[in-house]
């Protein structure tokens, strides 16, 4: 964390104590919050769309002439759009998601972004993952911060967060907690041969306590996490019994794995997944349709699975991307990096519907859609109203929470 955030969090305690007459009420509120947090077992599943999803072709303003003028070959014909309101509809490949929307299980947020948009993948993704637009952002991510503030679990093998991606996303980097990447842990567990003495010694030396140089200490912490996670996950797969078929894609696999672990009752609160390929600089039409088809098919399968497992009320899924794409399509039948885009939240307990405002196509910012909803308002809503955690501590400042939950 940078110095100003450290100061902020340190100062908060002092000013709290000096409030005199307001003290008791705030104590009560804090106690309530803490009790709510303790009882809260809601799960947040995150789906990151990597590369910059073209929001304009995902949630489509099919009545706007400017849309078709700018998207000469990529424009989706009005007749193919799944209308969700008088002026806006979903890409044809999102049909399963449109079905869920009709059931009131999907919130579609329009015009999502942040001030002074950055069109670099890494910088913009960093902004979303750290929930910070500061030039020197904190090293930890918003989900890591959430997990760090959870009351310490007496159960040493607690797994509050899991990442199903290839490497740990910055959003899950925490100052204290270690969030495992699930991946092929099963392969490691399977590879352990029954040479007990050897395994025991290796485990001991990998995780030995005592002073050590920085990198060695880091490796020991990570090794301890490996063994803990393997122990915990061993039972989860056995408890999962389901007939739901997921798309045979990496995202489908990640969500299926997530459902498996949820069924195992391991107390996981945050699960991070991702879908790659959205950086459609050329030949966007087919590629984008394929990705969106995979996305909505996977979300629909996951939702169906959760319903069957009796877990639907406990899970909300947020879908985001680091930026949208330019309004004007380029000469390669693709689009370049843009700014404002859309964000989805899906779940049984979500207030379905359309939120935010569609950015104006006649009032662009340097050729890009201008945001009207800061992404951190969505985060604030999810943190406060879904995960039961005060948002300001995590986000560093106050953002008016959306009301999707």
């Amino acid at each position: 964390m940078n110095a100003s955030r450290r100061e902020f969090l340190g100062m908060a305690g002092l000013s709290f104590v000096s409030l005199g007459a307001f003290g008791p009420r705030l104590f009560a509120q804090a106690a309530e919050e803490s009790a709510a947090a303790a009882n809260n077992d809601h799960v947040l599943v995150v789906i990151e769309l990597s590369g910059g999803n073209d929001g304009l072709n995902t949630v489509i303003p099919f009545e706007e002439d400017l849309y078709y003028k700018n998207r000469r070959t990529l424009g989706i014909p009005k007749v193919n759009v799944h209308k969700i309101s008088d002026g806006v509809g979903l890409h044809p490949a999102l049909e399963p998601l449109a079905e869920l929307y009709k059931e009131g299980r999907v919130a579609v947020v329009q015009g999502v972004g942040y001030p002074d948009p950055d069109r670099s993948h890494f910088r913009s993704m960093e902004i979303w993952q750290t929930a910070s637009t500061e030039k020197l952002p904190p090293a930890d991510g918003w989900l890591g911060r959430f997990i760090d503030q959870l009351p310490p679990n007496p159960d040493d093998g607690a797994l509050p967060g899991l990442a199903f991606t290839g490497s740990l996303p910055q959003a899950c980097q925490a100052a204290r907690a270690v969030i495992p990447v699930v991946g092929e842990l099963e392969a490691f567990a399977a590879a352990e041969q029954p040479a007990q003495r050897e395994i025991a010694l290796r485990r001991k030396l990998s995780t030995r306590a005592g002073a050590a140089k920085g990198s060695v200490q880091f490796l020991r912490n990570q090794a301890a996490s490996v063994y803990r996670t393997v122990d915990r996950l061993k039972g989860a797969a056995e408890k999962y019994k389901s007939m739901v078929e997921y798309p045979g894609t990496p995202l489908g696999g990640q969500l299926k794995h997530a459902a498996q672990i949820l069924a195992g009752g391991l107390g996981v609160r945050v699960m991070y997944t991702s879908q790659d390929g959205y950086d459609t600089h050329s030949g966007q039409a087919d590629a984008h349709a394929g990705l969106l088809g995979d996305l909505s098919g996977s979300i629909a399968a996951f939702d169906k699975d959760l319903r069957g497992l009796g877990l639907a009320d406990k899970v909300a899924t947020v879908v985001f991307s680091e930026f949208g794409r330019r309004v004007d399509e380029n000469a390669s039948a693709g689009t370049d990096h843009g700014a404002a885009s859309c964000l989805f939240v899906a779940g049984a307990k979500i207030k379905g519907g359309l939120f935010g405002r569609y950015p104006r196509l006649d009032k662009l910012g340097e050729g890009d859609l201008v945001f009207n909803t800061d992404f951190r308002s969505a985060y604030a809503d999810l943190l406060q109203n879904w995960l039961g955690c005060p948002a300001q501590k995590i986000l560093g400042s106050e953002f008016p929470a959306l009301k999707l939950v």
């Binding site: 290839g166 842990l185 003495r197 050897e198 010694l201 990198s215 600089h281 050329s282």
Partner: protein, 461 residues
């Protein structure tokens, strides 16, 4: 320029160029070395050992070329990226010019291009060859070659960059990731640079300048005006004051320490600038500097998958198919020829998560099980070469392994654990059996090697 960190390290009786320093040099400049190579380096002394690293291409390269051309046609026509990855892994395992290969891998992570989009394996192999050939020399020359490289042109949509409709992708990454870094140019500079690179296309496996679609007009770039083309943009970017710092920091991170402090980076940037961004000259200074041999650098990095896997093979003389190696590298998060994105691999602590560490531990324990026996084509770890079959003393065996893997740097705590482990059976100590039963003894020794390779201390590179 006042030097501090790059003051030459002068070995003397009090602080000699010993086995630990030699192993550190060979590890960082390459992929590790066996005991004989470490001893040879100690014998030569620091200066000559460093000279050897920069020896020119020779017979070995011609031998590789011959072998490659013999099977090259097959490789390229098969179009299987897996085979190409295995070919590069094979080079890393066997080359005498480890620094050249290590640098090629560095530049591959820097100008990160993925076969997953490029698809054409011939283009990818040619790019790697360019990085290998020009990697040690002038950064300007290397950057220019990369801008003209067909794989790069495919990767960052150069073929779509035409004057009617410039495609910014390459211009942006060139500045943000390849030369001066973010914050040192404007959005307008990106657009103007894109114009300068219009028409920089490829035709098959060769660069091809398409004049018909090139924007010959005047551009305003980094505060200058002129009818710049791509080459001019490269010249201006490599002359940008931020570029030496940006590249030097990466070189330090890769060869020296994971988080070099600002004053070290500043000195390194000044040095790199004075060499006119010549990587060979810079590394020569680094490898003979006090900083390089200081505690900040010694075993301060976390081995990348390539360093870990190839390092084990070269240190212990492990023989295994390069294709196996490639699979392990992928499980550990490093797919050769397929970095996750144009930013390459973040490295250091980012290499390690539950999954990738599990992959390393699984790999470590599998090494000593490689016992080819009669079949010399099976994978094999030649434990007998560093622990003679007639050595019956647990303490002596542990010392030998400590020398090979750590140049003797192993805590007494760990040594005791290992000596106990060797002589312990299921029902208690079995000292007699350990001494008399060679088969049993070598089985325990092999298990111990697996345990030592899995130590966090071993991955501290």
């Amino acid at each position: 320029m006042a030097r501090k960190f790059f003051e030459p390290f002068i070995p003397d009786a009090g602080d000699p160029f010993d086995a630990r320093k030699a192993a550190h040099l060979l590890r960082r400049s390459g992929f590790g070395a066996n005991s004989a190579q470490v001893a040879a380096a100690v014998g030569k002394g620091l200066e000559e050992a460093v000279d050897d690293l920069f020896a020119d291409a020779d017979d070995e390269d011609r031998e590789f070329e011959r072998t490659f051309n013999a099977i090259g046609g097959t490789l390229v026509n098969a179009g299987d990226p897996g085979v190409c990855q295995a070919w590069w892994a094979y080079r890393m395992l066997t080359t005498r010019h480890a620094l050249r290969e290590k640098l090629a891998l560095f530049w591959h992570g820097h100008f990160a291009t993925s076969v997953n989009k490029v698809e054409d394996t011939q283009l990818m192999l040619r790019q790697i060859e360019t990085l290998r050939r020009l990697g040690p020399g002038s950064f300007r020359e290397l950057a220019l070659a990369v801008a003209r490289d067909p794989a790069m042109i495919v990767w960052l949509d150069g073929q779509s960059n035409v004057k009617e409709h410039p495609n910014e992708n390459f211009a942006r990454e060139l500045m943000e990731l390849f030369t001066c870094g973010i914050g040192n140019y404007s959005e307008q500079d990106v657009l103007e640079a894109a114009r300068a690179f219009t028409g920089w296309h490829r035709s098959g496996a060769d660069f091809s300048f398409n004049a018909a679609v090139h924007d010959f007009g005047v551009k305003k770039f980094l505060g200058r005006r002129g009818k710049f083309d791509g080459g001019d943009v490269i010249d201006l970017l490599t002359a940008h004051p931020a570029t030496p710092r940006f590249i030097a920091r990466k070189l330090l991170r890769y060869f020296a320490a994971p988080n070099p402090p600002n004053d070290v980076v500043s000195e390194a940037a000044e040095l790199y600038d004075r060499t006119q961004l010549n990587t060979r000259l810079f590394l020569r200074e680094l490898f003979q500097s006090q900083y390089f041999f200081s505690p900040e650098c010694y075993r301060s990095r976390i081995a990348s998958p390539a360093e870990f896997v190839v390092g084990i093979a070269r240190t212990l003389g492990v023989r295994q198919p390069a294709t196996d190696l490639v699979g392990h590298l992928s499980a550990m998060g490093q797919q050769l020829l397929a970095p996750p994105n144009v930013k390459g691999w973040d490295g250091e602590e980012k290499w390690i998560n539950s999954t990738t560490l599990a992959a390393r531990l699984t790999y470590a324990r599998s090494i000593p099980e490689m016992n080819a026996g009669e079949n010399k084509f099976n994978p094999h770890c030649p434990v007998e070469e560093f622990v003679p079959a007639d050595d019956k003393s647990a303490a002596s065996i542990v010392e030998k392994l400590a020398q090979v893997l750590f140049q003797g740097e192993l805590s007494s705590e760990n040594r005791e654990e290992f000596e106990t482990f060797l002589i312990m059976g299921d029902e208690g100590p079995m000292l007699e059996a350990f001494r008399e039963d060679e088969g049993l003894r070598m089985t325990k020794v092999r298990q111990l090697v697996g345990i030592m390779l899995a130590l966090p201390e071993y991955q501290a590179y």
